[in-house]
Assembly symmetry: C2
Homo-oligomer: 405 residues x 2
């Protein structure tokens, strides 16, 4: 059985951690599996390197930044290989370019175009444990590129896809995906399984366990992922196609406070207004989440939408000229809001889900400002101060008496 | 004019140093030269990485050590490129494999087999300053290798050779080659020029300014080297063919305390004894420096030779069995000795040189234990405690009244 395992920076932060990882890896190897290990840079290495660069040139080219940062994984793969050697197992470390990661030339956030697997296959055939540097590749000019945030997850899933691995185990500092943030909600429960789409929804809700690109890639190539902890040796949460899973309902309740609400009050109620507004927002490279448009009244209407908290200013600036031109009463934004969501496959067939969520929030005296629903998600916008309480009551409603809707 | 410049680890130890190097580089570039810069790892990076490895596995494979250590230059070339970018000059950094350094597979002390110059030439044609990682290359399996001690000097000289550079400037923490160690001898004078052979002799004497392999390579390919300091902006010492130089006599007086003297007393005076002894020493991979054999007496003789201080034990061990077999009175070694040498081209035609050296040592009451001479060198072995005084009187004899032999 071929297994791809991925370990993040905190999992290899020091010698002790590195040996812990080496033990997890060699345990699976001893069971007769072929193992590819994808590793990120050690703990603070990347931050240290960024600081070194900032001291010299805060506007360094991305090419040179990638050259610099990719040294981080080079160090960690060598150290992990040394630990595995010490334990007496055959091992070889490979950099991104050695492992065949061909990317485009978008330095700092390159996309993997192809993985040439000859070298990895040859090493696996020699019964070597193969330790691969995550996050990095090489472009067609022979220059080093990096994949950007969460790039090592993407490296691991991509390898699992092209190598037809049985499973891609992503080791993190949490031991799985929970029905709510376990640090906040006492009786949050770990999920055994979750679908790709649900995982993607969770990620956009601020519950960032896996990088989105890697989940999208896993979905596209049908790679089964397991999210688990490198500290505890317990099964984690499997991310896979719904078809493989028993049908479950609500999977998780989550909050996202990284939200700004932009309000345009009293804009003329004529066709094309929404297009004019959101095309300008798109041109400013701002992603819009929830959109709410009031019913027209007195020939004007109100349009409200949410963006990431740090994009509130930019969104207002992008619209200023247009708003002045067409004449609107007011444009403003505030970040004193939070988005509370519940996620679960098959939600669309259970109308009771959304209404039950609204009910418990109302019972708790929490005012709902905006509502957005998708096939597998219900999100509401509320005041930020109510966020934790909202997650708590919603979680209680759906998980404490479980699926008894 | 194409110039290769090489900067060691202390020259790029921190942001300030990196900018100092960037200034030296861009000054030459502004004069209209094409520039290739070879850089070592920053200050203590290599030691830090070695310590990380030692913590995990003191017996790590050399392949993984090379993988680990080569990250050091990767960091320094990126940082130097960023500094040059900041100053507004076009620049590109290249790793050993990107710069075409093909080596054999002797990890940790690989030999350069070939440099494929296409990439470097293309970058120079684009008017880029090319910053190359010293010390590293790639073998035919696509694995990273390092060149061992002083490897960056070798990288620089090799590049200067294949690129037909006008000169290879090696920047160090001294501003040239001196007639004696300037930290010890007050009136030691900096040389304008020195030949390759003299430089090699100096290196074996412990005055390690340049790595031997790089000097040998420079001699073979007739690459003119300039040794100079990255701190002061003064001309250094040029290392080149004697033909190019005005004939000078004594170039330098140096001492080497890394010496063990091995003595075999009372060994049978029969043919083949020397062969038996030194073939065993060679088999143990021990380099022998001076050899002294006494005239036979009472059918026995004494053989004394010197090796590096830390090889004394091994040399005695290698000979134990043979000595016991043929019967010798005693074998022992001591490290309480020092080698004092004077070096200079054309010495063989001036018999007065050696005798003057012996004379001043005798006048100073310093006993000479062994003598070795070559065409360009006279070395004597003395007691370690006399070493500094010996260099002083010898230097005074040859340099204070200059060439008035």
């Amino acid at each position: 059985m071929l297994i791809v395992q991925k370990f993040g920076g905190s999992s290899v932060a020091n010698a002790e951690c590195v040996f812990n990882v080496a033990e997890i890896v060699t345990e699976k190897y001893k069971e007769g599996n072929k193992i590819i290990v994808v590793v990120s840079a050690q703990g603070d290495t990347t931050d240290d390197l960024i600081e070194k660069a900032r001291e010299i040139n805060p506007h360094a080219s991305r090419r040179e930044m990638d050259m610099l940062l990719s040294a981080g994984e080079q160090i960690s793969i060598a150290l992990l290989a040394m630990a595995i050697e010490k334990m007496g197992f055959p091992v070889v470390s490979l950099l991104g370019w050695q492992a065949g990661f061909n990317t485009n030339s978008t330095y700092s956030s390159a996309r993997i175009k192809r993985i040439q697997t000859e070298r990895i296959k040859a090493e696996l055939d020699k019964n070597n444990i193969v330790v691969v540097a995550g996050f990095q590749g090489v472009n067609r000019f022979g220059d080093i590129t990096t994949l950007g945030r969460g790039g090592s997850d993407t490296s691991a899933v991509a390898l699992a896809a092209v190598m037809n691995a049985e499973i891609c185990q992503i080791y993190t500092d949490v031991d799985g995906v929970y029905t709510a943030d376990p640090r906040k909600i006492k009786n949050a429960a770990k999920l055994d399984e979750i679908t790709y789409d649900e995982m993607l929804e969770l990620a956009t809700l601020g519950a960032q366990v896996l990088n989105n690109r890697s989940v999208e890639m896993a979905k596209k190539y049908n790679v089964e992922i397991e999210v688990l902890s490198s500290k505890s040796r317990v099964p984690g949460t499997k991310v896979k196609e719904a078809a493989k899973m028993e049908k479950m309902l609500i999977k998780s309740a989550a909050k996202d406070t990284n939200v700004a609400r932009v309000m345009i009050v009293g804009i003329p109620d004529v066709p094309g207004v929404a297009f004019q507004i959101f095309s300008r927002i798109a041109k400013a490279h701002i992603n819009v989440d929830i959109i709410l448009q009031s019913v027209g009244r007195d020939k004007t209407k109100d349009i409200t939408f949410t963006v990431a908290a740090d994009k509130g200013n930019a969104a207002v600036a992008a619209l200023k000229e247009y708003i002045d031109m067409v004449g609107a009463k007011e444009i403003s934004f505030d970040t004193d809001v939070a988005k509370i969501s519940i996620v679960g496959a098959g939600m669309e067939t259970h109308e009771g889900v959304a209404s039950r969520m609204f009910e418990v929030l109302g019972d708790a005296g929490i005012n709902i400002q905006m509502i957005s629903t998708s096939e597998i998600k219900v999100s509401v916008l509320i005041e930020a101060k109510d966020a934790d309480r909202a997650v708590s009551v919603v979680h209680a409603a759906f998980f404490d008496d479980s699926l008894a809707l």
